[in-house]
Symmetry: D2
Subunit: 455 residues, 4 copies
């Protein structure tokens, strides 16, 4: 997962700040690196760095990035290698001029495309599929205009790709025809803001216009905004995990409030898997909204069993072997006065490997809870994601090889229940043919080698 | 406000990690600087740096701080000047040997003491009252043992002072006789942990023993723990703001669960100042617990009107004048689907200057709320704090010069109500003679020049 | 100018240290950035950074760069833009595998080659001609073996190019057929060291074998060393400025000791342009060796008129306008006791813009010298270099537009004399058809658009 | 050894730059830390950091240090512990106001004074004798004016102490009555510059006025300069090693040109210990000037046998055991063409431990020299320095336990000769009662416990 931004702003010195604020609001989509590219006086310039947006950019750097058009990116590391070379936007020079690309998604046919390009003697400086996209676009632009070049690019990519790009003086945003990753646009007093989520539109004081449609491009040149249909697909594949976990609760994605979806999840979960208990509590922060829904539907008192340390960062270290066991305790702590002698329902959004769940259940039990019941706001994750969410391999997914009862025993809960797939679809309220449910069903919305397709 | 820690651990290499984890759990008490002092092989060593605990210490630094005794400190900047010289623990050498001091509190008679010491030709390298404490203690130790030296130190200090100190091979913790700032002790498998709050005891896997009593010292030498009464006062002055805002909700302070107090505050507030509304929402994060109590007592639905950006840090910059207005919007955003057309009750812990409250009310209104009612979990703050909480001057306190109705108009709420003093005392459940309520009453628990005393 | 290195060493953990020491000895060839690439267990890895070798690499980084084959680079910034993207070795992935390239030189037909590659839709991430070399080599390797690919690469490059490269498990060193930039090879107990100058061979304790011949490649695979003739040219074009200024005095380049050449220069200069004077002094450090020769030939006493501040670095700042005039004074200072009342001969290696020369003459005069005579160890520089030495444009070269008498007046010397071209050739002792003398004659050893060719 | 500076300048924004340039010219006196204190608008401020002057200060920091009075310091680490706490100027607050102290020297009775102050209950934050000086001065200023306070300070200090100090709006420079460390003053267009060496006066464009006399203070208040005699001693103790090694050759110290002294040393050494040889060469850089003198007196050709790597820094690392032997080779390299088949005289300033000398002799021999003769420009160092030069203990001094013939064998030279004490005194040209010769004679100019006094 990553977050992308595109900005057009008549006021040249305001542009980088709008991009910065947007990226800052998308920080939850990626904390590994951040970058901004801008069409400056003469050509496209970029600035990138490792770490959080507030760490990478200071006032002076931002003020040096003036221009009317800008794109930005926050990166979520999907592999172990964390290198500045992989930070985006990727900026290349070509016959067509400067091309900067910010990409959210993952190409399923990356190696196929790269091998083909390498077969022409081409070289690659990064390990990122974004460089493949940039090279193909540069080639297409040799003899085609931007719209045709984009169509040809789209025709050879397989996978998920929400993109914001600068080609000299033109800003392009594009969302793949299945629409895996969200992308939307808003209007400011001085221009436009395109971003992965509407919370970034809000953060800049812009007015939300609408979602970019799957297969649709937004092209901004000389201040003129144009929506262009590049490709079309009846089937859509909106990532269901944006609703379950990834997006910020105040975002509205493809017409559905993320907060409402999660609240519905909690309500439906309470109906599907009721439990006699004294309090309902979230696993903070991911279970907060659904636990509120669960409490309200069940009538059980909502009370926080766990308090999270707000300062937990990525850089935290686990030095001594004997201290490892405290790793969860340092991130969150049980509120004894709330759980002592109580039957506690913990609500979380999902279970991936199950190791953290076990530690949390143990912690609440150690704080005096009489019973600990776990309710999960999604069906079991049984299959890997090939579209940009780092969900480990099948072997690491606890639900891939174990029954629910086995999982319950492993994590030491008194009871465990997952939301049903139907319940999830009801909570979101869209047809299942609109969603990518691959990680929950094992059926993929497009052809992935070695996996079953949805139809 | 600051956070302090003291650790005795038989396992020398474990000691710095226990101190580190404790400090990390007290990070909310101070983000400006962090430091650890340890009794190493030969003498007391220290390491300090600006910023968060995870930023200041890395594995290598920690591993270099071996020893059985250690103290730690996180600092909250109360003045504009943020300098490494003021970071603690303060480590000095004296006739009595090495003395390291970590201090949470504020001396009312600091300048008086300093002028007296300067009158002897003494010099000061910092602007901190901690250096005054260290110099007086060093002088007292010339001819007295630790207990007597501590008694003499206590007799000349006026103000609040929870301390952890190392004097060569002895660890000392001391809490002033009025007990302004919290201090408690826990037991590990290898020794003891003393910390400002019980959440730090929990984070290290230690078992909570009890609060250090006001006027009581803990002395650990050669592995032996001793509680010593240094001074006694019938009156106590536990800081009421620890319960209202400052402490972490999972801490238990002087026998009262902070979470329960805040939950009670919400319940009592709902009874004292009911309102017809559709949803109750916290101002995140400070109003979360009391808003849950308010919702449960009032029967109004609990739903989050505002989502906070989890990545907001201290280093955030506000560059362009025209972007200033978005300062709150970047920190939190309204959830449109929750507030549209609704009558919203926002619950916050307190109001200091009122500027942020105004922006939040406006934001919720702009997101479509029909009415916005503000409920505050404490009485109005009308007087400054001289005991270590940075609460501005009287002129800056909105409630110091304005009636509640005037405040309501300023912050543009449909209704505004504060918790009564009686309600607050009921929520905490202790006699008012146990608490420092100076900021709410203007009556101070000890003599402060220019201010009225409580009796 | 840059410095390049290639290392084969059987002892995998020794390799990076040999590369590091070699680079460190070539630091005078470039201080902007430093980098090392190594064939690790699985693939080629690289580490690069801005600044000096000792700044970029620490023990831990070096120890992580194990392998049998390695190349290294120190970069001299020839343009204003100092960016990490331009640091070398450049590491790319291609059909042929990993290719790392370290380049000393400059391609005259860079833009022509780049435009051609861009015409195929190719993209570029750097502004460096090294990326062009890497792309062409990758293309050639599609269907050719290394020797043939190298021949084809050589056939399309125009300019200067001493290269060390890694292609998977093969180390390649190549020197262009005119041999502009030096390149030599030495033998260690565990393998080989290839470097720009012999001083780097010495620094690693290796035994000097010989210079790489122009048009010759060194190929090391599976421990086997092979010399391969790739191209041949009767004419050579050894850069004359390596002898005059650039190389370290303890290096032996193409069979001639740099120290001896400079000493000869001083002797011949003394014969060509004698002067009645009391002392001969170098302009430190560039004039040291030739001034010793001048003193010995003339019989005038050698005494230092100027002492250089050994700590002058690149990062030095010149803040106030009124302090600018001291810029030279901070770098060096006159020794009053040596120059007072004396007739002083200052010997320098060359004059580029003349501004520093003026300040030095003034400083020596201000310290009390009766007369200041300047002797220059090279003919006037009248034409720009297109082969990698940053010598400014014709407009900036003081000797390009002015007669020697005009220059003398400008720099305020009592007399000024340059070495003759014949004198320089005698000092070096090789046929002029072996050398590139373009900057001194305006005649270029290969075709440069807008310039005259040597024949 | 350290370098100190004091500046008065009417132009407030020029002051920090003059201090900076002065310090930069004294960089050879200390590379561990650098600092500047300035009397700003309201009070004395300071800025300090680890490393070189150019590293510690950037333009912005300097521009923030405006004021008319300023002092500066570069520190040479005499102990293993390199800590920012020990960086100077030391800035303390006292009854008398702000006191900043920069100190070059070493107090022999440091612990005695410190124990006395500790006996009053005083505390110390640093391990430096400078804090003792500051505390005593602060005490003296309680009831005395600056001159009397200085007299009282002087009366209790034993050791070497050249000082620059700020006491509120007064700049004070003071040199101890024996005058161990140099201190001189110059005049600028806007005020005065006081510095350890005259090269710093030159670097700022100031005109040298004179040396500060031993026992003399310079006091600058409200723009008025005053010289005040504080103490007097017939005997002086100018450090002989300033002339031999420490000072920059372009400085004039106590009326003697350092360059001339070293040149004389070489001449006398040639007369005292002649040798049949082909070339005379310095061990760079410390032997340069004396080797020139040696060559001229002996008539043997001056030619550099060794070239030094100009980029060797303090941060250099010696990783692999097997690479240790190259440690000298990386710092300098032999010029084969100069030494092959030759009888070489190497001239160095002194021998401390002898380990480097051995490596250098071996290196020149390995490069082909037929004979290697070592000539040392000082008598053998047989006793430690207690006045601020870090010369190790007696056990580590090679000349302390070995005869000259034994040393010759150890370092593998064909012949070895030291300068005689008489030769050294002749070279300097002052009465021996003016100099501290303790390290060469074992007789100390003031009473040091366990050592013999000179009279």
């Amino acid at each position: 997962m990553c977050g992308i931004v595109g900005v057009y702003c008549e006021n040249e010195s305001l542009t980088p700040h709008i991009t910065y604020y947007s990226l800052f609001s998308l920080q939850h989509r990626g904390q590994e690196s951040a970058g901004i590219a801008v069409v400056g006086e003469e050509e496209v310039e970029s600035y990138k760095g490792m770490g959080l947006v507030t760490h990478v950019f200071d006032r002076k750097t931002l003020e040096g990035l003036k221009g009317r058009l800008s794109i930005g990116h926050v990166r979520y590391s999907t592999t172990g290698t964390s290198r500045i070379e992989n930070a985006q936007p990727l900026l290349v020079k070509s016959r067509a001029g400067s091309i900067a690309v910010a990409h959210n998604g993952n190409l399923v046919n990356y190696w196929q495309l790269r091998r083909k390009l390498e077969g022409e003697g081409r070289t690659f400086l990064t390990d990122s599929d974004t460089e493949v996209i940039a090279q193909i676009l540069a080639t297409n632009l040799l003899e085609k205009d931007i719209v045709e070049a984009l169509k040809e690019l789209d025709s050879c990519l397989v996978g998920s790709y929400s993109l914001t790009m600068l080609v000299n003086n033109t800003l392009i945003a594009y969302r793949d025809p299945l629409g895996f990753k969200p992308l939307c646009i808003g209007k400011t007093d001085y221009g436009y803001v395109i971003a992965s989520e509407s919370c970034a539109i809000d953060a800049t004081g812009a007015r939300f216009m609408r979602d970019i449609k799957p297969g649709e491009a937004v092209i901004i040149r000389e201040g003129e905004l144009e929506f262009v249909k590049i490709n079309e697909s009846k089937r859509k594949a909106f990532c269901v995990f944006e609703y379950i976990y990834f997006a910020r609760a105040d975002s509205i994605i493809d017409g559905r409030s993320v907060y409402s979806v999660r609240h519905n999840i909690g309500r439906i979960l309470a109906r599907e898997s009721p439990v006699n208990a004294d309090i309902v509590s979230p696993v903070p922060d991911s279970g907060t909204t659904s636990s509120i829904g669960f409490a309200q539907e069940s009538g059980i008192q909502y009370l926080e069993a766990l308090i999270k340390n707000r300062y937990v960062g990525r850089t935290f270290i686990m030095p001594e072997q004997s201290m490892r066991e405290f790793s969860v305790r340092i991130k969150m702590n049980a509120v004894k006065s709330n759980v002592e002698g109580k039957r506690v329902v913990l609500v979380d959004d999902s279970i991936v490997r199950g190791t953290t769940s076990r530690k949390i259940v143990d912690m609440v039990r150690a704080a005096g809870a009489k019973e600990v019941h776990l309710r999960i706001g999604s069906p079991p994750i049984i299959a890997p994601c090939y579209f940009g969410i780092d969900m480990s391999t099948r072997e690491e997914l606890i639900a891939s090889g174990k029954s629910i009862e086995e999982i319950r025993k492993t994590i030491n809960a008194d009871s465990l229940a997952y939301l049903s797939l139907k319940g999830l679809l009801d909570a979101i309220g869209v047809d299942k043919r609109m969603l990518c449910l691959a990680c929950l069903t094992g059926l993929y919305p497009l052809s992935v080698p070695g996996e079953k397709c949805v139809e």
